[in-house]
Amino acid sequence: MTIEVRDLTKVYGKTLAVDHLSFEVRPGMVTGFLGPNGAGKSTTMRMILGLDRPTSGTSMIDGKPYQDLRDPLTRVGSLLDANWVHPNRSARAHLRWMARSNGLPTSRVDEVLQLVGLHDVAGKRAGQYSLGMKQRLGLAGALLGDPGVLLFDEPVNGLDPEGILWIRTLMRNLAAQGRTVLVSSHLLSEMSLTADHLVVIGRGRLIADAPTAEFISAATRSTVRVRSPRIAELVPLLQTQLAATVEPVDGAPDAATVSGAAIDRIGEAAAAAGIALHELSPQNGSLEQAFIELTAQSTEFASHPGPSGTAPSALRGPLPASHGSPLAGSAPDGSALAPDRSAVAPLAPAAYDSAAARHAATEGK
C-alpha cells in the first residue's frame, strides 16, 4: 500500500496552500512530513483522506482515490486532530459507531482500547479526558480497522515525554510490520528520531524528498573551531597543507572556524608545526537551525531570520538578502523562493536522484 500524491494543488480564496506537490509514501518505513506551520501539511493530509477537494492534481491510496475505497477504515487509519470527538460521548461509543460503519466487530473496539491503554476509562465521557488520553483515543480510532496505511498529523504535540516515547515506538513498530506510515511534524529533531525518510515542504512546495540521514547530513555540515595564540601562523598552514576553508570568528581574534578538514588532521598539522592549541572543538550545525534556514523563506508567517554563528556557511549565503527586508519572507509568489532554492542546491541533486531511483525501482517491480 502506497500513498501517491501527484501534482496536488489547493487554493483557498487567494491563498495558495499547496502548490503542485508530488511525492510518494512507501510501506515498511516511517515517512516524516516536515514543514513549518502553515506549510500545507495538514491540508495535504486532508486531501489524501478525501476531506478537502483538491483544486487540481490527485492523491491515490493503493492506486485509488480515497472516495473509492471500500470500508476505508480497514485500509487507511488516521489521527488528524485528537479533539475530534464528542465531549459527551464515551470513548467506547465513539469507537463503536466507527466500527459499525465499516463492518468491524464490536470486539475489535475492546481490542484497540486495550492496545492504547484506555480500557479502564472507556465508559467515561471523552470530554473528561486529558489531551494525552484523547490522543490515545484518536490512535485507537486510527488502528481500529487494522489498516495498512496510517496518517498522523503532529501526533506528539502537547504530549508529555512518556507519551512522546510511546507514540514514537508505536509508529516505528507499525512501520516494521510493513505498514505505510506518514507522520507530519514541524520539528526536525523529532523526525530525526522517528522517520526513515523525509518529505520536506514549505509554502506548499516540495523542498526535499530524501532519506532522513542524507537530508540531515546535507543540511548540517560540521565545522571545527580552533583557538591558538599563534592563530596568524596557523591559518595559512591549514589553508596550504589541508586545503581547508578558514574563516575568522567575530569577537575572538585568536579563533577561527575551519571547514573542509578532519579534526584529527588539524590537530596533527598544528603539532607538527609546533603551534600550541587552546581549543580544538567540532561544531555540529544544529538541526533546528539548518531546518529554519532551509524553510525560512517559505514560511508563511516569517519573522526575519538573522545570520547565526553556528550556521553552516553554505546555507548562510542567501540570508543577508532577506535580512532586514520585510518582503522577502512574505512575498506571495515564488520569487522569494528563488534564493531559498539556491540554498538547497547542495542538497537537491542527491534528493532528487534518490527520488528518481526509488521511482525507477517501484516501476521495475
Binding site: V76, R100, S101
Partner: protein, 249 residues
Amino acid sequence: MERIKLFSTRSPYWCLAVVLAAALLFAILMGTLQNGENASVFTSQSGMGLGMSVFMVLATLAVTTEYRFGTIRTSFQAVPRRANVLLAKTGLLVVLAAVTATVSSFAAFFLVKALAHSPAEPLTLATGGDWRAVLGHAALFPIAAVIALAVGVLVRQSAGAITIVLVWPLLIESLVRLIPKVGTNISNWMPFNAGSKFVTYISSGGAQQEALSQVLSGGPTPLEGLAVFAGTAVALWIVALLVLQRRDA
C-alpha cells in the same frame, strides 16, 4: 452507526422528553380548563406544534454538533460517499420523528379524553378528519425533521441553524400576514402553515367551532398543504446534499 451516534449523547433524550412533555402539558390544559369546554380532537393536539419545533432542534443538532466537534470528518473518513452519511441520518430521523409524533399525539388525545368532563364535541376518532388531526403529526414531524437536517447541513453551526428552524415557522410565517391584502394568502401557503393544514380539522357545530374555523379557513386544502410542506423539505434536502458534496469537510 447513526443510531449509536444519536443515542450515545444526552441531548436527544432531553429533546424527546420535552416533545412528549409539551404534548401532555397542553393536553392537561385543554382537558381541565373550564371543565374541558374547549376540548376537541383538534385542540387536544395543541402542544404538538411546540413539540415539532423541539424535534427540529434535535434534528438540527444531529448534524451541527458533528461540525462543532469535528466528528463530521471522522464520519466522512469512515463513509467517504457523503450522500450515504446524509441518507443514514435522514432515515434515522424520519423514523424517530414518526414514532415520536405517533406516541405524543395519541398520548395527548387520550389524556384530554380522560380529563375533559364536558367537551365541545365527543372525543372520538370517528371520521377520517379526526384521524388526520391526530395521526397527521406522524407525517408532519418527519418532514419537519428533514427540513431541520437540511438547514443544519447548510448552516453547520448550532446557534444559527436552531434560530432559523425556530424563527421560520414561529415568527416569519406569521409576520408575513401583516403585509396588506396578499399577506394572509402568502402566509397560508408558506411551508409550515401549509403543512399544519394537514392536521387542522374542525368538525361542525358549536359557536366556538364556528369561530375557530373562521380563523383557520383559507389557504390550501390538507393534501395541498402536505404537498407544499413535503416539497419544501425535498428541495432543501437536495440543495443540502449538493453543498455537502462540493464543500471541504
